[in-house]
């Protein structure tokens, strides 16, 4: 344990500066909303993000691996403990860099907004919370950051709380399926996000409390995981881990908790890019990776872990498959990208879960995929935001004429889709190859299905990315409106963002494992398949004959019915039960007890007839009864 003040100071500055730098605009907007000078204050907020970025870079290059601790509640063995290791080093920079770039983009994207104080406060609070999650080794500080993510997510999704602009909605307005209207407003989206996430956070909170009660520490690296599992047995371990993983599952939008992520697209595009693709939703997978990193399931033959990791593996793959085919059917720009994000998160879970059989390398592969995905998807979201601004349309539209006016966006989309889909020799190809390798290893262990599911997902994934490119820039309809403006800051931001993929390509080429895997025949064959599907989709982005299937997929296979119909019914049922119970309690205390006492009281007073002789008889009788009773008691052996 390292007690170095220098690192602690840096870390706390990194967490605090973004929040503090967003306070001026937040306060200014309360008292002077919309004034010209107030609209300059966001530059200060972005400067705060920049400071965090510098500190995270310093940690990347200059701080040694280790745990940095500062006393908090020493009597309970709860301290601020921060970790610098392989995962947090890169994840920290990734978070800070993407937040900063999107912050720059947001300066232009949000400049005419009506609620800047709210936006920047939650945007920067989000960044601070995410950094806290990334660097926390102590589960309590991690939980604080984790709840900060949920809160910021609610605030930002519902940012346009007036629900007065159709462009901010998700789904076609007025489209009814059965009793439901498949259209969601920002305020509804915010509520749905926080309620789904809280549904997972509660069990996670209890799991953390249980861990603390059982082992007396909350530092992930010092919890004796295997002793703990031995102590609570098979069912206890499975139960505890699933309670804990409810947090990551809901936050990372795995089935069946995916709907909130789709309606989260009602928030500003910057929010979708930062929270709902690159970082916050990845926090669930990141936490799973961090846990696995220290649990080291590959070192133990614990049956409970086998069960849990198998479930996570398949849940991840199935979510990935679901997300991919739903994305294939969708035509809403941001929702398509959201579904694809869910798909990628599923792959990250699956690959990390494979670490039980393969070892630490599976987590490293998942983590690299997380990084590639973050930059590529953030770029695509920023482009989508620009497109929505330029066309005033949430749905894909754009032809070659339009793409000439949007050259930067077009180029960035090409790079991002090529680098993300796994086409050789671009970045994701090498990482995906390693992932193919992981799943192939599983097949050698006798679990064949994951490999084929992964190939299938990869092919579909590549297809919808190409579809996104094609429908927006090449073979889509001509946009109804065109307001192509000189959005230099936005272009700059997503250009830098996408160029990070080249740096990652350079980094990947120095990782022997990825290079070796990329040169295997299987990997190359998968790469060819992916390329073919990409080209086909590029040429034929929509097929009329499949339009009915498309509608089924656009409606997300009617999963909204679970969230908007079945669960509310359960909720109303519980409300009815509670109502009856309430009435029962009311009746018991306000009717039953008083009338019972009333009855007894009248019974007691019934004796009072006013006749002395009858009173005398009663009293004499009682006295006789008592004396006889005492006599009998004495007869049967008084002590």
């Amino acid at each position: 344990m390292n007690w170095s003040m220098n690192e602690i100071l840096q870390l706390s500055l990194m967490f605090l500066v973004p929040v503090i730098s967003s306070l001026p605009i937040a306060i200014a907007w309360i008292y002077r909303p919309g004034e010209e000078w107030a609209r300059k204050l966001p530059y200060l907020s972005v400067f705060g993000l920049f400071i965090s970025l510098l500190i995270s870079l310093n940690i990347l290059f200059n701080v040694e691996d280790g745990f940095y601790s500062y006393p908090w509640i020493p009597s309970l063995n709860i301290n601020f403990v921060f970790v610098v290791d392989y995962l947090s080093r890169y994840m920290g920079v990734l978070t800070a860099l993407i937040a900063f770039l999107i912050g720059v983009y947001g300066l232009e994207y949000m400049k005419d907004d009506y609620r800047l104080g709210w936006y920047w406060f939650f945007f920067n609070t989000f960044t601070a919370s995410m950094l806290l999650v990334v660097y926390s080794d102590n589960l309590l500080t991690l939980l604080i950051g984790w709840e900060g993510l949920g809160l910021a997510s609610w605030g930002l999704i519902g940012h346009w709380f007036r629900d007065d602009d159709e462009i901010t909605f998700v789904g076609e307005k007025g489209r009814k399926v059965g009793p439901l209207e498949l259209s969601w407003s920002p305020s509804f989206g915010g509520w749905r996000a926080i309620s789904t996430i809280r549904f997972g956070d509660m069990p996670m909170f209890f799991a953390i409390a249980t861990i603390f009660a059982l082992v007396g520490t909350l530092d992930i690296h010092s919890i004796p995981w295997h002793e703990l599992f031995e102590r609570i047995g098979f069912f206890g371990s499975v139960f505890l881990l699933f309670l804990f993983l409810m947090g990551p599952f809901t936050k990372s939008a795995q089935l069946p908790f995916s709907e909130w992520l789709m309606t989260a697209m009602t928030g500003p595009t910057t929010v979708s890019a930062l929270l709902h693709s690159a970082t916050m939703v990845a926090a669930g997978t990141y936490l799973f990776m961090r846990l696995s990193w220290y649990i080291q399931p590959w070192n133990a033959e614990t049956p409970a872990l086998a069960v849990v990791y198998s479930v996570v593996l398949f849940l991840g793959l199935i979510s990935a498959f679901y997300g991919a085919i739903v994305a294939l059917g969708l035509r809403e720009r941001k929702v398509l990208l959201a579904a694809s994000t869910m798909s990628s998160l599923g792959l990250m879970f699956a690959s990390s879960a494979a670490s039980f059989w393969i070892g630490q390398i599976a987590i490293i592969v998942a983590f690299w995929y997380l990084m590639v995905h973050a930059f590529a998807k953030a770029s695509l979201f920023l482009v989508a935001g620009h497109l929505i601004h330029a066309t005033h349309d949430r749905f894909c539209s754009g032809d070659r004429v339009f793409s000439r006016k949007m050259k930067a966006a077009f180029a960035v989309t090409i790079v991002a889709t090529l680098f993300l889909s796994g086409i050789p020799p671009f970045t994701a190809y090498w990482v995906k190859s390693a992932m193919d390798g992981v799943m192939e290893h599983l097949a050698e262990e006798g679990v064949i299905l994951p490999f084929y599911l992964l190939v299938l997902v990869s092919v579909i994934y590549s297809a919808f990315l190409a579809k996104f490119l094609s429908l927006n820039f090449m073979r889509g309809e001509k946009p109804k409106h065109e307001h192509v403006e000189n959005a230099n800051l936005m272009k700059l931001a997503y250009s830098i963002m996408v160029s990070m993929l080249f740096i990652l390509l350079y980094a990947v080429s120095h990782e022997h494992h990825f290079v070796e895997e990329g040169h295997l025949v299987t990997s190359f064959a998968v790469g060819v398949l992916v390329t073919v599907s990409y080209l086909i989709a590029l040429y034929k982005p929509s097929v009329k004959a499949f339009s009915r299937v498309g509608v089924f997929l656009t409606d997300r296979m009617y999963l909204p019915f679970l969230n908007d119909f079945i669960i509310p019914k359960i909720g109303w049922f519980i409300a009815a039960v509670v109502d009856y119970a309430n009435r029962g309690i009311d009746y018991f205390f306000h009717q039953a007890i008083p009338s019972f006492f009333d009855w007894i009281s009248r019974l007691i007073r019934a004796v009072q007839k006013g006749y002395l002789p009858s009173y005398l008889r009663i009293v004499a009788a009682w006295i006789m009864i008592f004396i006889v009773a005492i006599a009998i008691a004495g007869w049967y052996g008084w002590p």
């Binding site: 006492f597 009281s601 009173y615 009293v619 009682w622 008592f626 005492i630 004495g634």
Partner: protein
């Protein structure tokens, strides 16, 4: 020893002097009833001067209650004007005397001394004699006195002549007779039938004396005799007392809930309060905690007296200032820092210490049951902010129950000193 003898001698002579004063006062009140009034007050003050340090607070409370009774009589009319003051003063003397004396004959005499004056008082009224009420009351009192005296004699006899182990039957029967006599005398259920009728039909002022001053002596006599004659047998027979106490609490409190007449409500309230006080007799099984029980019992009797005097005066004068009625109601309910809270606290503590946790729980439960009717009384009898003579009495009784604003450890310590001398000379027991 010599000093103590001298002190006792002084006490006795002071009591004797006050008896002479009140007798002369009563005789001369035929000329002017104010002579009886003043003589009675002087007699009470002289009797208070006879008190020792430990019994000082007790005596002041008793005197205060007696003076309040006299004052209430002074502002109302009856057929024996002048004599009535002397009767109350006589009861005060008996009540003071009983705490000081260890003489068996004197103790029994005080029991009769507080009982008999009430026979006369309960008959009196504003216009006519309350004959029916009087007959009901006197019949049961005679019955009660006989049972009580027989019980006392049997108890003393059993511990004097035989040892109690040798003759358990005699002890048990004596105990049961004494408790039954006591119950009938003060109005413990299920021997309470006379209470609601008499309380509702009698004149409010005389009955307030029956409900207040007359209740104290029987319990002290019972404590003294039971402590003096206590044997290992007491522990098993005590359950009988606990049973009567519980029945009385429930019958009193629940009966009061639906009673409409205020006098009747107060009658049931008395039944409940006598249940609380009777419960303290179980504490004799652990003599080291009996001082808590006696302190609780006495405070409960004082709080009950103050409340009854206040409420009956309010009935008589058709209303009293609502601050006073609410203060009295809250004291009855047991709201800190009023006297009713401390008395119930001490009683509860003594019950818990004697191993009667269930009885303590039931007592607290009963306090909750009593809330509605006390608040109803306070609301219906309390009118306005209050002025006039009736509110002077309201103010005085409120002062009496609010005196425990200063936590009554002082009273507890005094009782602790007195209890050491509790007992009857010549009889084994605590001394």
């Amino acid at each position: 020893m010599a000093l103590m003898a001298l002190e006792l001698g002084l006490t006795n002579s002071l009591l004797l002097i006050s008896i002479i004063i009140l007798t002369l006062g009563a005789a001369f009140s035929i000329k002017d009833r104010r002579i009886g009034f003043i003589a009675s007050i002087i007699a009470i003050v002289v009797s208070v001067a006879s008190l020792t340090a430990e019994t000082y607070f007790y005596g002041v409370f008793v005197a205060a209650i007696g003076l309040l009774n006299i004052f209430c009589l002074y502002i109302s009319q009856n057929q024996i004007k002048g004599i009535d003051y002397a009767l109350v003063a006589l009861m005060v003397l008996a009540t003071v005397w009983v705490i000081l004396s260890n003489n068996f004959a004197v103790i029994l005499a005080t029991f009769v001394l507080v009982s008999v004056p009430t026979y006369v008082l309960v008959l009196t009224g504003e216009k006519d004699l309350k004959l029916e009420v009087g007959i009901k009351y006197i019949t049961f009192m005679v019955f009660a006195t006989v049972l009580f005296l027989i019980g006392s004699l049997l108890l003393v006899f059993s511990s004097q002549v035989f040892s109690a182990q040798a003759s358990p039957i005699l002890y048990i029967i004596g105990y049961v007779f004494l408790i039954l006599g006591l119950s009938l005398e003060v109005g413990v259920a299920p021997l309470h039938e006379w209470v609601p009728d008499v309380f509702a039909a009698a004149d409010a002022i005389p009955i307030s004396i029956v409900a207040s001053l007359a209740k104290i002596v029987p319990f002290i006599v019972a404590f003294k005799i039971l402590i003096a004659t206590s044997t290992p047998l007491t522990e098993s027979i005590t359950l009988f007392t606990a049973f009567l106490a519980v029945v009385s609490m429930f019958v009193g409190n629940i009966g009061a809930l639906t009673s409409r007449e205020h006098g009747r409500v107060l009658g049931y309230s008395t039944v409940a309060n006598m249940g609380y006080v009777l419960a303290t007799l179980v504490a004799i099984v652990r003599l080291e905690f009996v001082y808590l029980a006696i302190a609780g019992a006495l405070l409960q009797l004082f709080a009950n007296s103050a409340g009854k005097i206040g409420f009956f005066t309010a009935i008589k004068k058709e209303g009293m200032g609502s601050p006073f009625t609410y203060a009295l109601a809250l004291s009855f309910i047991g709201m800190p820092p009023l006297m009713g809270f401390w008395s119930k606290l001490f009683i509860t503590l003594s019950l818990v210490n004697s191993g009667y946790l269930w009885l303590a729980v039931l007592l607290v439960l009963n306090s909750a049951i009593s809330v509605p009717y006390y608040l109803r009384l306070a609301r219906e009898l309390g009118k306005g902010r209050g002025t006039g003579i009736v509110n002077l009495i309201g103010l005085l009784v409120t002062l009496l129950v609010i005196v425990t604003l200063y936590p009554p450890d002082w009273f507890l310590q005094g009782v602790k000193g007195v209890v050491v001398m509790f007992g009857i000379s010549g009889i084994s027991g605590i001394s």
